[in-house]
Amino acid sequence: MGEKIQYKSTSELLTGLFDKELADQVTYDSEVVAIIRKHLGQNSIHSRAGYKLSEELAELGKRRVKEKRQ
């Protein structure tokens, strides 16, 4: 039935990215990666995942400022 295409599913693509390329802590901020994975790397994605993601990133910013101040 013609050539068999072995293309990745979305989950395979994302899991591969998070486990390999994005796990490089020198190039990528591991906390930001973890937050993105938490919101977008799961089997089911919340309908407001983009908003929740940005809120948590903003919280991360505030937390880091406080940590630096202390």
């Binding site: 039935m1 293309y7 990215l17 993105i36 983009g50 993601l53 940005s54 910013g61 101040r69």
Partner: protein, 819 residues
């Protein structure tokens, strides 16, 4: 795993009521249905589209109600279904051979919006996501009518990449939101405070300039003069000014209650906001308590079985007394226990008990830090209460309710919550509110308080102190905002880098798939239109704009144009058809089924023949349902596929009460004779098929063993598979039947001597090459004569064969042979 449809039943949907909706596809898997217009054939396509639709939508009917322009889903239900009380449903039996599985699924037509696909089809549709029901209007719709966004969305769905599109969309949302929460807006507001309270003397956020202004103003009152180089020094300066102001009041004898209250408030502000102040104490206590809670979790993980502490304490005491022959708990000899020896048990218990001690220590530390957090909070509450009272005395109206609200929230924060992490977010928020109240709101309130009867210099000084307090608060916040802004920018840059990586990978994946798809699409297009009008077809997906552009090279490489403006209707349809078929071939391998509903309307005979080639050659591994009102196309398919496991049915009529009237396409003798008389090119196939069916039936009736097994490969049979066994069986019939009644007949002799018995069946277009029609007529005449040998002389019924007695007879009981 590859699924196919074994059985299909459509009931009370569109024009199909009960009859004519059942298809047994277990033996022959594909079917071509010929029907004139208005005979209900598209109802089959609608029923199957509904069956496989994730949300029960049939696209061309729309999502509207019964009164909507397209009729909506209610139009699926047969108009007599209610009256006859028949459920509208589509039933399907699916088969997988590897691993073997049979799945029966029924989808009852639901008119409501909540109509999810049945569980048994959910996974099949996911593993085979491409469009499988193709109609003429779908072909044009994709190429011409859909915008690039819709094309992209449709393609993503076929490729099973909807989730990826969703992820990319959320990434964009997050990026936009991050831009919005940039603290620039608050930064501008706080800087306005500085401009206002420096009496417009400062017009840019430059800390040394602002502090210099503060120094100059303070030095009007202070001796020796001061030089303020930091916000902290500004705070010290303010305290000096406050002291000087108080001294002025004392000297002038104007010290009064208002000033005392104001002084108290200033002290609260200092106590609450300076380093090692009350607010900082609370923040630190929260941090310590959360840290202690984490330690407890770690210790708990190490001491997994802490509930057995008492048992372990007793065991240790027992083991310490000396060697025991068996385990004292289960009385099993040591060498037969899992641990193996008393020594091992002792080591294990000791380690476990040590873990329990660590856990106990961690729990104590948590309790202590929790107590400190509560105590710090109570102190803060007291300050807030006093602050509200003092503000009330001064007539500062907006502070007390805010302070009371924060205080009451602090009071109930620990209710029902035993762990610091349970209150962490809310507690941090209340601390932030407290800071805002004390550092931002209170200085503004204090500035508005005028102390009556004060000496002139003290009034000016008091006002300056108010300004400096606000400036100090604004500068502190601006510094925080600057840090936040820097941090946000770092996080946003990190986020963009990661988002960009995901977007790149998504684009790369999509391009990879589309490249293969494009090649197959071009090949199919060129098969239907072998001219050079379209050297190349391009599919260009863009994951950032979520668009898919479809372009063609028109008569020349590089002259890349949209197909709608330049191609004929037929060619546009071909691009759609090629795209749909390519997608189904590439992405529906796990369920290779396709329904082609009247797809050749815009084509001439030559192109229909090429589409028939595509169906027979490019969809050879597919299970296909084709409906057409074009008899020529139907016959083209039949001539190519009648020996390839296809069913050919005709719908000859349709009535509202009965639905379509479906008939097998196996023609009667008089119909075959009529075809031969009209020199119809299909007469050869019709004769061959009739002969096969007749001989197959006779072999069964006469118990003649044939190598051919009817299901599932009946299209592999040839006439020779039946002819030899049938004649051999006839030779065994008693009474010298074969020799006396068959062997001497001209029809037998001619048929058995006819060396081309298997060749004539394919009509040859060129009569000079092969005089086929004459040959077909000859064979048909002789075969009809041959079949008459097996009819009763008295009643013309077909003779019966008694296997045990090996003799022929007729149910009429009369003479079966002519004298």
């Amino acid at each position: 795993m590859s699924w196919s449809i074994d059985y299909l039943s459509i009931q009370a949907i569109k024009g199909v009521l009960v009859e004519a909706g059942k298809f047994d596809l277990s033996k022959k898997k594909s079917i071509a249905l010929f029907a004139p217009n208005s005979c209900g054939k598209s109802g089959y396509a609608d029923a199957l589209e509904y069956l496989f639709s994730p949300d029960g939508e049939v696209q061309h009917l729309g999502k509207g109600s019964v009164d909507s322009e397209h009729g909506g889903k209610p139009a699926l239900r047969h108009v007599l279904a209610d009256e006859l009380e028949i459920d509208s449903e589509v039933k399907i039996v699916l088969r997988s051979d590897d691993p073997p599985e049979i799945r029966e699924v029924t989808r009852l037509l639901t008119i409501g919006r909540n109509d999810p696909i049945p569980k048994g089809l959910e996974d099949i549709v996911k593993i085979a996501p491409a469009h499988r029901i193709l109609r003429q209007h779908d072909l044009r719709r994709f190429v011409v009518d859909m915008n690039p966004q819709d094309k992209y969305s449709e393609l993503s769905r076929w490729l099973g990449l909807e989730k990826l599109t969703e992820v990319l969309s959320h990434l964009t949302t997050a990026e936009n939101q991050l831009s919005k929460i940039d603290p620039d807006r608050e930064f501008t507001e706080r800087f306005k405070d500085i401009i206002e309270h420096t009496n417009n003397s400062v017009n840019s956020y430059d800390l040394p300039t602002i502090l210099k202004w503060c120094s100059e103003q303070s030095n009007k009152y202070l001796a020796p003069s001061v030089k303020i180089d930091s916000i902290k020094e500004l705070s010290t300066c303010i305290k000096s000014l406050q002291q000087f102001r108080n001294d002025l009041f004392k000297v002038s004898g104007a010290m009064n209650e208002t000033l005392k209250t104001k002084t108290n408030l200033e002290k609260y502000v200092n106590d609450l906001t300076e380093d090692s102040c009350k607010l900082n104490n609370c923040e630190q206590a929260l941090k310590n308590a959360v840290g202690a809670e984490n330690q407890v979790d770690v210790a708990k993980a190490e001491a997994k079985e802490s509930v057995f502490q008492e048992v372990w304490n007793s065991s240790i005491n027992l083991f310490n007394k000396g060697p025991l022959p068996v385990c004292p708990i289960c009385l099993t000899p040591w060498d037969k226990t899992e641990v193996g020896s008393q020594a091992e048990v002792f080591t294990y218990l000791t380690t476990s008990l040590q873990s329990l001690v660590s856990l106990k220590d961690a729990q104590d530390a948590l309790a202590k830090s929790h107590d400190i957090l509560k105590t710090s909070t109570r102190t803060l509450e007291t300050y807030l209460r006093n602050l509200a009272t003092e503000c009330g005395k001064l007539g500062i109206k907006d502070i007390p309710p805010l302070a009371d609200k924060i205080r009451s929230d602090f009071q109930i924060i620990f209710e029902g919550k035993t762990l610091p992490t349970h209150v962490q977010a809310e507690y941090t928020n209340l601390i932030d509110q407290s800071k805002k109240l004390i550092q931002t709101n209170l200085p503004v309130g204090l500035l508005s308080i005028t102390i009556q009867g004060t000496p002139e210099p003290a009034t000016d000084l008091d006002r300056l102190i108010g300004h400096l307090e606000i400036i100090q608060s604004a500068l502190s916040r601006l510094q925080e905002l600057e840090n936040e802004r820097a941090e946000y920018r770092i996080i946003k840059a990190s986020f963009s880098l990661i988002a960009s990586k995901i977007q790149q990978e998504a684009a790369s994946l999509l391009n990879e798939v589309v490249t293969v798809l494009q090649a197959d699409l071009e090949q199919l297009y060129k098969k239907i239109h072998p001219t050079v009008d379209v050297p190349h077809v391009y599919l260009k997906p863009d994951t950032s704009t979520k668009t898919l552009s479809l372009r063609i090279d028109f008569h020349k490489n590089g002259r890349t144009l949209p197909p709608a403006g330049y191609l004929s209707e037929a060619r546009i349809n071909t691009i759609g058809l090629a795209l749909f078929i390519s997608c189904a071939k590439l992405f529906n391998k796990e369920f290779p089924f396709i329904f082609l509903d009247d797809i050749v309307s815009s084509y001439d005979a030559d192109h229909r023949a090429r589409i028939a080639d595509v169906v027979s050659e490019n969809l050879a591994d597919f299970q296909v349902i084709v409906t057409t009102h074009d008899e020529m196309f139907y016959n083209m398919l039949k001539s190519r596929l009648s020996d390839k496991g296809w069913i050919f049915d005709r719908i000859t009529d349709w009535t509202l009460e009965q639905g379509p009237k479906r008939e097998s396409d196996l023609l009667r003798p008089d119909q075959i004779t009529s075809l031969i008389d009209k020199s119809d090119p299909n007469c050869g196939n019709a004769v061959r098929q009739y002969m096969e069916e007749w001989l197959d039936g006779m072999c069964g009736k006469y118990c003649a063993y044939t190598l051919h097994k009817r299901p599932p490969n009946d299209y592999d049979r040839t006439l020779f598979d039946f002819w030899g066994p049938f004649i051999d069986r006839l030779k065994k019939v008693k009474g010298n039947y074969f020799a006396s009644r068959v062997a001497g007949q001209q029809s037998y002799q001619r048929l058995s001597a006819h060396s081309i018995i298997n060749y004539y069946s394919h009509f040859q277009a060129n009569p000079y090459k092969w005089p086929s029609k004459g040959d077909v007529e000859y064979v048909w005449t002789e075969f009809q004569a041959f079949t008459k040998l097996f009819q009763c002389h008295s009643c013309s019924k077909t003779l019966q064969y008694d296997r045990d007695a090996e003799k022929l007879y007729c149910t009429c009981g009369k003479e079966i042979f002519s004298p």
